[in-house]
């Protein structure tokens, strides 16, 4: 069974190369635009969203690209685990940062004019 899958896997090398290059390009673009967003967005809360792009689109797409390039199934399984654990842990970290900023009363920029609200809630 594993031999059969391995044979199909190596037969599909060209298709895997094309797919994984697409994943690498999209993932790299996501990482770069996430980094650009962190620099360009105006305040703490909006920068969190840019970091989210690097966390999800960037990391997962690059991991999928590497998964398609893996030489043995044991490497593929490990990459799959890395992706799964990132999928669960990165939102927890983002939520922890956002929640603690909100708890200490960090003021957000609001509305299309990006102004701080005058009167506190």
């Amino acid at each position: 069974m594993i031999d059969l899958i391995g044979n199909i896997w190596s037969e599909l090398e060209l298709a895997r190369d094309i797919l994984s290059w697409a994943c690498f390009i999209f993932g790299g673009l996501a990482v770069v635009s996430g980094a650009l967003g962190i620099v360009r967005f105006p305040d703490f809360y909006t920068r969190l969203h840019a970091a989210g792009v690097t966390d999800t689109g960037g990391a997962e797409m690059i991991l999928i690209g590497m998964l398609l390039q893996s030489p043995t199934w044991i490497v593929a399984v490990k990459l799959f685990f890395i992706g799964t654990f990132l999928f669960f842990t990165s939102p927890v970290a983002t939520h922890a940062i956002a929640h603690s900023a909100w708890m200490v009363g960090f003021k957000p920029l609001e509305g299309p004019e990006l102004k701080y609200r005058e009167n506190g809630e």
Partner: protein
């Protein structure tokens, strides 16, 4: 007891797949001992419940994850467009959405899904509401986010009886 067996099986599968040893008796023995020891510790610490081993949620949540993957892709493109735009049109704001899932695992899954989709970050959870920070008006779509919550609630609906 069912939960204990499932935890042992899951830990054994994780150990086998991460180590890659299938024919070294000594190492496999160590693996068995460490798996049983961790499962025993979890049982002794009293954390072996619906939160740590969410058996009822697992089979139905897989389809939800596939759907969530597509949503994450779409939201990624929208945030990337703002990050690369010459003049980003941001209108960030806080808003609340109702939280349909009832169990704590369901709530955590829903809040994590909101955070995973770029453009929305869950900031605070109260009893039945989640406070969200959205990046632009497009992301502040209460109906779409509530629909996501309904999907999580549907995935957990069968487990609600089994978990308690």
């Amino acid at each position: 007891m069912g939960r204990f067996i499932i935890l042992v099986l899951a830990l054994a599968a994780l150990w086998l797949l991460l180590s890659g040893y299938f024919d070294k008796a000594l190492l496999l023995g160590f693996g068995v001992v460490s798996v049983l020891f961790s499962a025993w510790l979890a049982k002794r610490a009293g954390v072996l419940d619906g939160d740590s081993v969410p058996t009822g949620l697992l089979p139905r949540i897989l389809g939800y994850w596939v759907w969530l993957g597509g949503e994450i892709g779409k939201a990624n493109l929208m945030v990337m467009r703002q990050a690369l735009a010459v003049q980003p049109k941001l209108s960030p704001k806080f808003f609340t959405v109702p939280c349909p899932p009832r169990s704590s695992v369901g709530k955590a899954t829903f809040a994590n899904s909101i955070t995973l989709t770029p453009g929305t970050v869950s900031v605070n959870l109260s009893e039945n509401e989640i406070l969200i920070h959205g990046l632009t008006e497009e992301f502040c779509d209460v109906a779409a986010i509530t629909d996501m919550g309904e999907r999580v609630a549907r995935a957990e609906s069968k487990s609600a009886g089994a978990a308690s």
